[in-house]
């Protein structure tokens, strides 16, 4: 018994020695021992303050950012649907088009369709946006489509990180972009410049940016294939109680 006690004592002494030696080995003066509570408290207080600050600035900037994004989208819809005066936003809820979302649902969880109307109120095509992988990152495309004859009315790249100087020609090269405004038929086929046979569904790809330009064509084809069955059922008339002109947010 007594031996056991002794050995325990020795261990204690050893630990104390190590502890007291540690600060001496450093060049800096001995620091006050800081309690764990203080460490946690400091970071907690700092974190709380940081969070508060971020929330405050976010409250200020979020409306501006949202407004800008909505503005950009609106411009894009009007750009890809020439001759359209106003448009309605429809959501795909349970495979049916609806202008209202189920209660508590997040807007971003639903696929959207922008239905354009001309000044007389007649439907003039729909705008669809879709994103898929390009050469570097996801390319977000919005395009105008006429369900009646399956022709495109326009195309705009909403977001892309394609290679500057090569892949970014998908939105910087007017010759490429222009083709989508000339009413090509869907499904589109990408061909090398000069290799086309004059078919109405051919799009000349960009030399040096084949992957990027084929990605754009693919995105449009996939989106059309996905929406066609829904559009073939017909676009329901906008409910009368929605104010004409501003259904789009």
């Amino acid at each position: 018994m007594s031996q056991d006690n002794n050995s325990e004592d020795r261990i204690d002494v050893d630990i104390r020695l190590e502890d007291s030696e540690a600060p001496k080995s450093q060049d800096e003066p001995v620091r006050k021992e800081v309690s764990t509570f203080r460490l946690v408290a400091t970071l907690a207080v700092a974190g709380t303050l940081a969070g508060l600050l971020i929330v405050l600035v976010n409250l200020h900037t979020k409306p501006i950012i949202d407004k800008y994004k909505a503005e950009q989208l609106k411009l894009a819809v009007y750009e890809v649907l020439p001759g359209v005066e106003r448009y309605d936003t429809w959501y795909l809820v349970d495979d049916k088009l609806s202008m209202t979302l189920p209660a508590g649902a997040k807007e971003s969880d639903y696929k959207r369709l922008y239905v354009g109307h001309d000044s007389s109120g007649a439907t003039r095509g729909v705008a669809i946006s879709r994103g898929e992988s390009g050469f570097q990152d996801v390319i977000m495309v919005i395009f105008g489509y006429e369900p009646a004859n399956g022709k495109l009315t326009g195309m705009k790249i909403l977001d892309s990180k394609e290679t500057p100087g090569l892949g970014d020609k998908i939105y910087k090269d007017p010759a490429f972009v222009g083709q989508f405004f000339e009413g090509p038929e869907t499904p589109l086929v990408g061909v090398k410049i000069g290799a086309g046979k004059g078919q109405p569904n051919e799009i000349d790809t960009i030399t040096g940016a084949t992957i990027s330009s084929k990605a754009v064509i693919g995105i449009i084809n996939h989106a059309v294939a996905e929406w066609k069955p829904i559009l073939d059922k017909g676009i329901p008339e906008a409910p009368a109680d929605t104010a004409p002109g501003e259904a789009a947010k």
Partner: protein, 213 residues
């Protein structure tokens, strides 16, 4: 403890200890976003904002930050200001924000900023720290704009979006691609090294001249 004067604190970061060109810190943004002058300026402005605010705050609060958690606290402060810069840029300069993309968020891990906090702000007065931060920020801006200028000029034939060489200029696409960043940085460092060497040669004129002859 410090032997430098206030003006030295300020000047140091601009040339002698330029964060990018001498200390080789913050190279990730320096290479990634300098394909145009506008991007370089936006990146510099965001970094400038973050380094100044962090330096002020950290030098003010240095007494309250326990030594054991100082790095976490610095990163927390820096990350907060980066988030603010991110949101402000997105609201007021959306075009630039779109171009810079993820690199804004990556200012958090720019070792130049953390380095200044650890090496300077945590040991010096608020005014000194601010001077140091402003100097470093200017040094970073100079480096980035220099790189952005060369790359935009050669890669797209323009400067700040204004065409410089007319329509017949065939742009060197490589210069706006990532590889161009490395090339540009390499040539700038070469030039800096040359200037430094000549300075040294002038200082100790005769002996070096003999050696070379």
């Amino acid at each position: 403890m410090r032997t430098t004067t206030a003006s030295q604190d300020f000047i140091r970061g601009i040339w002698k200890e330029n964060p990018v060109l001498i200390q080789m810190l913050g190279l990730c943004p320096a290479l990634a976003v300098t394909n145009s002058v506008a991007n370089a300026l936006a990146m510099s402005a965001a970094t400038f904002f973050v380094i100044c605010c962090s330096s002020i705050l950290i030098s003010t609060c240095k007494r309250f930050i326990p030594h054991e958690v100082r790095i976490s606290a610095y990163i927390l402060v820096i990350a907060t200001f980066v988030t603010l810069a991110d949101m402000l840029l997105q609201a007021y300069a959306p075009a630039q924000h779109k171009e810079l993309g993820a690199f804004i968020a990556l200012i958090v891990v720019n070792c130049m900023i953390l380095g200044r906090q650890e090496a300077f702000s945590s040991k010096n007065t608020v005014l000194r720290s601010l001077l140091d931060a402003v100097g470093t920020g200017i040094g970073f801006t100079i480096a980035l704009v220099m790189m952005g200028g060369f790359r935009e000029l050669l890669g797209t034939g323009s400067f700040l979006g204004y065409s410089m060489f007319g329509p017949n200029f065939e742009p060197w696409v490589i210069m706006v691609l990532p590889a161009g960043g490395f090339l540009t940085l390499g040539f700038i460092l070469l030039a800096m090294g040359y200037i430094e060497q000549r300075k040294k040669t002038k200082q100790s004129e005769e002996p070096v001249a003999e050696v070379s002859s």
